[in-house]
């Protein structure tokens, strides 16, 4: 059962990511990205990360994807129906990407990975309590830095995207 669910989510992720990359229509790409994020969230659940899966859905699907769709609609002339987007440098890119994927799969196949004593078995307990504890004890400094970064990013984005310049 676990294998079937894993292969289902893996197929959804990889197939929709391929649609994202190879589709000529940028709107199709944006909607295929939705399914990629869902598939990745499913993989997170299979990796004992339930809190991360929900965060993935809320932040990526609810935030980033909507932002990207706004970007698509604000930067294309919908009147002239020219939302196709071309490719360039296809041959060098294929070479580089083939080299990277060959190297990565070679390393992943041949490495003797350290396996934990529990062999990574699935647990049924939730991780949100542990994550909450870690955020206010061992990881409190990155947590605070992340909040400052988000504040700066919001102010900076609003400042840059506003229409009239402040003299």
């Amino acid at each position: 059962m676990y294998e079937i669910i894993f292969y289902f989510f893996a197929f959804v992720t990889v197939a929709s990511a391929a649609v994202v990359v190879f589709s000529r229509n940028i709107i199709y790409s944006a909607f295929a990205l939705l399914f990629t994020f869902f598939g990745v969230a499913g993989l997170y659940v299979l990796l004992n990360a339930d809190f991360l899966a929900i965060t993935q859905l809320m932040v990526y699907v609810g935030g980033i994807l909507v932002l990207l769709l706004f970007g698509v609609m604000l930067t294309t002339n919908t009147v002239s129906v020219d939302i196709k987007s071309g490719s360039l440098n296809v041959f060098p890119a294929v070479t580089v990407v083939a080299a990277i994927v060959g190297l990565l799969t070679g390393v992943f196949w041949t490495s003797e990975w350290f396996m934990s004593s529990t062999m990574g078995e699935l647990t049924s307990q939730t991780t949100s309590k542990e994550i909450g504890n870690a955020l206010i004890t061992t990881h409190v400094l990155p947590f605070e830095i992340a909040s400052v970064i988000l504040l700066v990013a919001i102010v900076g984005a609003a400042m840059m995207a506003r229409r009239e310049r402040v003299k």
């Binding site: 990889v14 790409s29 980033i64 934990s116 529990t118 995207a161």
Partner: protein, 102 residues
């Protein structure tokens, strides 16, 4: 046939290379951003896979949380830059925006 660490690593390798291909070849700046999101997702899968199959408890999940936070900030800033580029050049094709001042 059980699912091991290698399966998750292979999924993330495929996702990474697809995102890399989008970043390298697509002309539209928003498509480049989508490629970056794919790359960040593949990194997150790696973090969580090593967190589960290695003996790392929650550490990998903490790293993944901060990756998601930075991805959100990056998307907001990048979209603001893309909107500015569109306002000035009336195009978002990255190969046509090749000078720093007009």
């Amino acid at each position: 046939m059980t699912i091991t660490l290698t399966h998750f690593l292979l999924i993330s390798a495929i996702l990474f290379s697809l995102g890399m291909y989008a970043v390298l070849t697509r002309r539209n700046a928003i498509m480049v951003l989508m490629g970056v999101e794919l790359i960040l997702n593949s990194a997150n899968i790696n973090f969580l896979a090593f967190s589960r199959f290695g003996d790392m408890n929650i550490e990998g999940q903490m790293a993944a949380i901060f990756v998601i936070i930075l991805a959100a900030a990056e998307a907001a800033i990048a979209l603001a830059i893309v909107l500015n580029i569109y306002k000035r050049f009336h195009t978002v094709n990255v190969d046509e925006i090749s000078f720093l001042k007009d």
